[in-house]
Subunit: 378 residues, 2 copies
Amino acid sequence: MTENSDTLAVYWENGEISSYPYLYLRDNCPSPSTIHSNGQKLIETSAINPAIKPENTELRNGSEVLISWDGEAHQSLFSADWLYNHRLSKAAIAERRQEGHLSAPLILWDETLNNNLPAGDYNAISASDEALCSWLENIRKYGFAVLRNVPAQPGMILKVVELFGYIRETNYGKLFDVKTTVNPNNLAFTSLGLSAHTDNPYRNPTPTLQLLHCLQSSAAGGNSVLVDAFKVIADLKSHSSQMFHLLSTTPVNFRFEDQHDLIERTDTIIGLDVFGEVNAIRFNNRSVQAFEVEEEQMIAFYEAYQYLAKMIDDERYFVEFKMEASDLFIVDNERVMHGRSAYDGAGGERFLQGAYADRDGLLSKLGVLKRNAINQLV
Amino acid sequence: MTENSDTLAVYWENGEISSYPYLYLRDNCPSPSTIHSNGQKLIETSAINPAIKPENTELRNGSEVLISWDGEAHQSLFSADWLYNHRLSKAAIAERRQEGHLSAPLILWDETLNNNLPAGDYNAISASDEALCSWLENIRKYGFAVLRNVPAQPGMILKVVELFGYIRETNYGKLFDVKTTVNPNNLAFTSLGLSAHTDNPYRNPTPTLQLLHCLQSSAAGGNSVLVDAFKVIADLKSHSSQMFHLLSTTPVNFRFEDQHDLIERTDTIIGLDVFGEVNAIRFNNRSVQAFEVEEEQMIAFYEAYQYLAKMIDDERYFVEFKMEASDLFIVDNERVMHGRSAYDGAGGERFLQGAYADRDGLLSKLGVLKRNAINQLV
């Protein structure tokens, strides 16, 4: 351990050396006057003197560092564990990020998943935290899951959402009915087939979860089709980094308008996070508007768009099943696209109820269930 | 007008020449078999032959182009207006984007807005579309507005949200009470002062609107403070493009954890849209976690973070007012930060109710009200 002008250097037994700026250490002091017992920070980072220095630094029991600050009657005690887990080398930061990925990986899938649909049972997940945790973990990993034995009664979808999160109400209501209607304001409410798509790309924030619950299913046709856009995009990127680039940097406009609503959003078809990794797909050929792409680029953009759309329509990416009354599925609406084959509206009934919700509530519930499960093991 | 191998060239009277790829024209044909009367596209773009050509192109009445397609019994009729409004030159696309900005500009503000707070009256906006439109337009432009004379009864905030959109329910409930509580899970529920911040940066999607309604206000202190982060960021960028760069590209982690919830998000403090323009601020020193920034960069990152935080605490950016019972304000939670001064919890009551909602519903309602107003003029 060495005090430098503005950093503390720690020499680890394995030979590694870590530097911690004093400002960083004071800001993250684990004392109860700095961090409230609920985890919230109680000090204003902006109020710390950027040139803050220790008056004294002391190694205690070989596993703790006690810093007495200069000009402030305050001491900070850091454990060796805390310091090790907060090493600030590029490699250590990358390693922690990688560990996060490994502990919660996504599983990309194609048609082979048809043999092993992630599914749960409504009675089980209502009664058991373990079953609920497992069902929610499937949604996190695969971007969707089926749920069986949800009583085929209107409004049951609200009960399902209550198990893990909150309904996102929109102009379609808390719940909406998906069946053939006269003068539909949306093609979903006809008997036409629908290529796999994401819902509401014209909305910002887009609802991040969609649920569909089957109440009646006697019409011929109308199979549900799900496609993992993250798998499709990974394959598209392998095929052509140029197409990937165009689709992740070109803004397109999505729009929905009817008597009561006028909703528009301009964003890329492939969304990237701050690390440059794919975090969203927005794909809906029905609501996309004329592309605003320069004439020299237009042909290349159409090539990429058509290529992506054809991949989405390619059965080798399809998970396909016919929903029966009391079946429900949930999709991550920024990852897994859903569609349906056409059905015979005259030859029987097809009646689904749908609703939107958000991923944050689901991931929070999943995190708490996992935390509780670990605590019970201890 | 000239037919080329894969584009139609149009010569305008002003000397400008525009090229339209045939694929683009077929895809955007305005016929009812291509675009449903509700505005949704009825054809699959991926199914159009990329090498599609006209069999014949005909100029009609000097103001319409009729294209008969080769290999398809279909004709497309484009008006000169449509073609002019869809010119695909870089300049034309930039011009349309600029027109969009000019027709709906944001107004950045600082303390001078104290003399002219955007405000509405609950009775007026409940009774009149014109008053509602004007109040919503203020929220769009300024990122916030006050509302007076909202009866000081619990739950009234739900009635206000019904006028323009939908509640976003979270773990804090549909509505939450902001007053001093024993064992608070959040510092908001103490009498401490709070620097201006955005709410729920640990949540994704973050609620894009927050409402606070005052039911009781007899405590000393507890002024509300609002700060326009877009103005602050514009000034920060002028001061240092390096600080702007660090704050808009460095991921930070926000976290909230209590007995029932565990919510985390990693994203930049300054959010940029696909055009590189600022579209979000995420700033909450209470929920931000230890920065994962390499040791060589850490000092520079702290400089930028402290500089931003001090700007946010600088009174020349403050809109400040004391809420009285029956006052309400709404903020765009990705643009306008809110805070409060400390108050004397023993010397009186301070009781607010809060709720979240989303901007998409508000902007849709605003769009419809504007459209209706224009239609009434016609």
